[in-house]
């Protein structure tokens, strides 16, 4: 059997990274759907429920962008740990965007699954 070309392997890895990063925004909005969370809680939620996290450093700038776009709001809350934590919550615009994105995702993933059906049979 032909061995996988390292170049193909690399392209596959890049594709995966792209896919994860593309879904990160929706995943963050979804994590905030029913409760307010601070950055590390969002990260832990995404790590435990998915394998979307590529690097922790990408989540904080993304949160700051979502805030600038008016999709989330933030507030500082004092904690028992001795330092304040920045909590994020969805704004009405953020809820709207999350619903729109989840609808797009549902129709996109079902159409891709249909296309992929023959691959499952061929195993």
């Amino acid at each position: 059997m032909k061995k996988a070309d390292p170049k193909d392997q690399e392209a596959g890895d890049k594709w995966e990274v792209q896919l994860r990063k593309g879904c990160l925004e929706l995943a963050i909005l979804a994590a905030l759907w029913s409760q307010k969370l601070y950055g590390l809680e969002i990260l832990r939620r995404l790590e435990s429920d998915s394998d979307l996290i590529v690097s922790e450093g990408t989540v904080y700038p993304l949160l700051s962008r979502l805030k600038a776009l008016g999709l989330v709001r933030s507030e500082w809350v004092e904690s028992d740990a001795g330092h304040p934590r920045k909590y994020y919550a969805l704004t009405p615009a953020g809820k709207h965007r999350a619903l729109d994105m989840s609808k797009t995702w549902a129709s996109f993933s079902s159409s891709v699954s249909k296309l992929l059906a023959p691959l499952g049979k061929g195993k």
């Binding site: 890049k14 450093g57 990408t58 904080y60 700051s64 962008r65 600038a68 776009l69 001795g82």
Partner: protein, 211 residues
Amino acid sequence: MARIDGDARQKIDAYLSRLRTRLRGINEQDVREIVEELRSHILDKASVGGEEVTAGAAGATLEALGSPEELASEYMTDNLLARAEVSRSPVRILESLFRWASLSIAGFFAFLATILGYLLGMSFMLCAVLKPVHPQTAGLWILPAGADDFMISLRLGFGSAPPGGRDVLGWWTVPIGLVVGCGLVMLTTRFGLWCVRQYRRSRLLPPGQAV
């Protein structure tokens, strides 16, 4: 409250101060929030179970965040892009595209096309505004250039009328200049925002793969 050992504190402060110096162009209040949020993240992550934050735990946490330079660059670009998309202001759009231009050839052409679009649009509007001030000389002129050739020139009316030239639009310069000028600025803004979105999309690619 979690205790922090001296070496850990030094490591964290050094990381955050490197980050702070690279967050140029973001307002002071936002920079303070970014730095405090990351400090809070580092302390929470490095002191699992409320134990003392050791230099080792702090180092591992900082490593997981990536280098301060990479992190600052993510903040800078995300911040610029979001501001451009929200404000739709030509200055913000050009600011974002200038950043893209410094990173790739596609960004350079997008920046160049956008700046040319704005300049041309503004020239038309300026010409319309100056027509009443310079009724004899401002406007869209056809000028002779060689034997059978001519050129079209958008003149703001400073200086004397060019010899052999003809003002094509006359007083129509005012309404046409305003409509064409505004149209060009609006189209350029739409084009600029489209480019900003392409730039954001290209950033979804892993480093080194950005278009």
